[in-house]
């Protein structure tokens, strides 16, 4: 029962693309269900503020004291905040790392729980209890420093963890240095000066404020400038380039060879 002008189907009753369709349905189904059923909950506290420090204390007692102690002395759940300074608070709370939602190798960026005023209030309170690194002056955050010197400093001091393009990198035991492509200038400065978690401290004698401004200038430069060569593939280097050539390059070319050698109609 073969039709000479039509290629008979060799797979019998099943359509050749049935397997592909089934897999696609399965993937879309599970992916869609996951997206549908996971929600992200955000809590919002709005507090009318009196003095900034008072407000900060109230916020602190409500949100931080359980782990960090009512007098910043720390507890088994969280380290002491004596000497961490306003910069630490602005960084940790302002990036959403704090309050910590779950245990893990490190605190991770998640949706910020507080407004900028609230963050500054808590920072002011912590700084009032014991002094530490301050929130950086605006003049270091403008991105008008020397990008070339900043780049050199970045390569020597930062690239080994954060990658030369700030794409992030692995540390030991599940920790990682995050990507820097959408971190604000203030947070970059504060992270350098406070050394959050396992990041070392880069105090102002090690990297001076002007040098920090240069590093911020460099990071802003690569954040804002378009990649000259085209799509950057995440700036992850030869691994992503190799995957790209095998999957898309060879893939496209093999598809073309199948077309090329197929008998024409």
């Amino acid at each position: 029962m073969t039709n000479p002008t039509r290629t008979a189907r060799r797979t019998g009753r099943r359509h050749p693309l049935a397997t592909v369709a089934l897999i696609a349905v399965g993937l879309l189904g599970t992916g869609g269900a996951y997206a549908l059923f996971t929600t992200s909950a955000t809590a919002e506290t709005t507090v009318a503020a009196a003095a900034q420090v008072d407000e900060g204390q109230k916020l602190f007692v409500a949100n931080c004291a359980t782990c960090h102690g009512l007098n910043l002395e720390g507890s088994t759940q969280g380290p002491t905040l004596i000497g961490v300074g306003a910069a630490s608070v602005d960084f940790q709370v302002g990036s959403g790392r704090m309050p910590l939602a779950q245990t893990g190798p490190q605190a991770e960026v998640k949706p910020v729980q507080f407004t900028q005023e609230q963050v500054r209030a808590m920072a002011a309170y912590v700084a009032s209890v014991s002094p530490g690194p301050a929130i950086p002056d605006e003049k270091y955050l403008t991105g008008e420093g020397n990008a070339a010197e900043g780049a050199e400093l970045f390569r020597v001091n930062c690239a080994m963890c954060h990658n030369v393009a700030g794409a992030g990198g692995a540390l030991t035991e599940g920790k990682f240095a995050p990507a820097l492509n959408d971190v604000s200038a203030a947070h970059i400065y504060e992270a350098m000066v406070t050394g959050p978690q396992n990041m070392p401290v880069f105090n102002d004698m090690n990297i001076t404020p002007e040098q920090k401004a240069d590093i911020i200038t460099y990071l802003k430069y690569i954040q804002e400038q378009p990649e000259p060569g085209g799509i950057g593939l995440g700036n992850l280097g030869p691994v992503s380039e190799g995957l790209f050539i095998w999957i898309f390059g060879l893939g496209a070319i093999v598809a073309i060879t199948v077309w090329l050698t197929a008998k024409s109609n």
């Binding site: 019998g12 900043g150 780049a151 799509i231 593939l233 030869p238 691994v239 073309i256 050698t261």
Partner: protein, 545 residues
């Protein structure tokens, strides 16, 4: 040695093109050349040579054409690149490196990227073409392996091809080390560390290679000589040998109706194959240029000039050197000892030896299989992989081994992307290095045999057509449609081997090698599905619905 071509009757009336001015010029030119070079002989021999038409036979062409793209783009680059390690202050237009001290090699690469129109395009084209070159060689080797196209008379061509693969790796490595940037410089540092670990002569080889202490001021110039002169010359010569052997042996073909071990069925070089192959060259070239214009590769300006102090997270070599980097990463701690005061670095030697053995096994596989089967006939029909289950299983095991090493090179990126610890990733890969190939081999072997069983079923009983018929007695059956002879031929026309029966030689002895051969041939061929025979077909025809 004339080629005979039998043409089935054409459905179109013959069209002789009219002789115009162009044709007259061509005729004059052809005559001029022939009277001086005997070219007509070659045209006669090769012009209507037949090439079988299967997509998997084009993978070698992908390699060849990407090599041509590499040569063309590389030639452009040599007009602008300067392979000197003299220190200079960068004065080009890339802002974050202005005023920075770097080698002339790096500065000229930056100039190509930022101050020459089309320079970045050519650089990216060159590098993407190199990645595709080696990837297509790999895929081509896999095709040749899994279809058994390395069997007699093509064993020598397999070795030549293997040598080309190694040369391509060397070309790639020397090439990406030329800009003297932080990423490739750290790669050279690793090579230096490995070389120093070689017993007895290591420190001296390192010293000679780098012209003194690492990094020295000679290495980029020396790699340049290798990259644009020595290695390409050997590659071109080896490609020549590879092509000549291909023409002499003619290409293999898959089994099919009308195709035998003694003929080649396909399209003639002129005009169809020339059009397809020539067109494919433009397509490969075009795809590479498309990629080079859309996707960035090796942004050396972000890495900056090489300095022994900084390093980037995510330091990996180009993908084709990944298996070597991965091998280094998987060594457990502490593999080094002292022998009579001399330091023996097993953490370097073991990866080198293991990788060396691996590639030697790859090179020698055709000879191994020929020894097992003892089959000295010429083979021009390409196997379907399922019909050589043990060979396919060994290939799958080899691919798995290589892949584990390859993924090990990106262990830190796997850790960050999948939120795992690098220690866990490393341990899993260490285990997979041993378990993976064995599992892959066993599973593949069983899958091949299962597929052969399915083929046998279809050949004998036809395929399920989806029509359910109710018989008068009430039972339901599914109607099977028989294959016609042409379709069935592919399923039944494969080589069958049986395990060796060991027999004493003329002196009544059985050599240990023969015993080993018997054991190996049992592993290869004991579990096998024999091809369907004529009697079985006749019997099935009587029994079928």
């Amino acid at each position: 040695m004339s080629t005979s071509t039998t043409t089935p009757p054409s459905t179109r009336p013959a069209n002789d093109p009219p002789v115009g001015r162009g044709m007259r010029f061509t005729g004059w030119a052809a005559n001029y050349i022939d009277e001086r070079t005997s070219l007509s002989g070659m045209v006669k021999e090769l012009g209507r040579k037949i090439f079988p038409d299967h997509w998997s036979f084009m993978l070698g062409e992908v390699a060849l054409y990407s090599f041509v793209v590499i040569l063309l783009s590389g030639t452009f680059l040599t007009f602008f690149f300067q392979a000197s390690m003299a220190e200079v202050e960068y004065e080009g237009s890339y802002v974050p490196l202005k005023g920075v001290e770097m080698s002339v090699a790096m500065a000229s690469t930056l100039d190509i990227s930022f101050d020459v129109r089309g320079g970045l395009l050519m650089r990216q084209l060159h590098h993407w073409a190199a990645l595709l070159f080696i990837a297509s060689i790999g895929l081509h080797m896999l095709r040749v392996f899994f279809t058994g196209a390395f069997r007699k008379p093509r064993e020598i061509n397999w070795v030549v091809g293997f040598v080309l693969f190694i040369l391509a790796l060397a070309e790639g490595f020397t090439g990406y080390s030329l800009p003297d940037d932080l990423l490739s410089g750290n790669g050279l540092r690793i090579i230096d560390g490995m070389v120093k670990g070689i017993p007895v002569i290591g420190t001296w080889i390192s010293y000679l290679l780098f012209g003194g202490e690492f990094p020295g001021t000679d290495i980029v110039g020396r790699l340049y000589t290798l990259h644009i002169l020595l290695l390409p010359a050997i590659v071109v010569a080896a490609i020549g040998v590879h092509m000549v052997l291909l023409i002499v042996n003619k290409h293999t073909q898959f089994a099919g109706p009308g195709r035998t071990n003694d003929n080649v069925v396909g399209v003639p070089i002129m005009p169809v194959f020339a059009a397809k192959a020539g067109g494919f060259f433009f397509i490969v070239f075009g795809v590479l240029v498309l990629i080079a214009s859309l996707v960035q590769i090796n942004p050396i300006w972000v890495y900056g000039p090489y300095d022994p102090s900084p390093v980037s997270a995510g330091t990996q070599p180009d993908w084709y050197i990944g298996f070597a980097d991965g091998a280094l990463r998987l060594v457990p701690p502490g593999w080094e000892f002292e022998l009579l005061g001399f330091t023996v670095s097993m953490n370097i030697l073991v990866p080198i030896v293991v990788l060396g053995l691996f590639i030697v096994v790859v090179m020698l596989y055709p000879f191994f299989e020929a020894w097992v089967t003892g089959d000295k006939r010429e083979h021009h029909i390409a196997d379907r992989p399922r019909n050589a289950p043990m060979r396919t299983a060994i290939g799958a095991a080899g691919v798995t081994f290589y892949s584990v090493l390859f993924f090990a090179a990106s262990s830190d990126l796997i850790a960050t992307h999948f939120r795992l610890s690098i220690e866990w990733v490393t341990h899993v890969l260490q285990a997979l290095l041993f378990i993976g190939p064995i599992l892959a081999g066993v599973i593949t072997h069983r899958i091949c045999i299962a597929l052969q069983k399915k083929d046998r079923e279809i050949a004998l009983h036809g395929f399920e057509s989806g029509r359910i018929v109710r018989l008068p007695g009430g039972e339901y059956i599914e109607v099977h449609e028989q294959l016609d002879d042409y379709e069935r031929w592919k399923l039944v026309s494969y080589e069958d081997y049986k395990p060796l029966m060991v027999r004493p030689d003329a002196r009544g002895r059985i050599s240990p090698l023969e015993r080993v051969r018997a054991v190996v041939s049992r592993a290869f061929f004991e579990d096998r599905i024999t091809p369907v025979t004529r009697t079985e077909i006749e019997a099935a025809k009587h029994d079928s619905h």
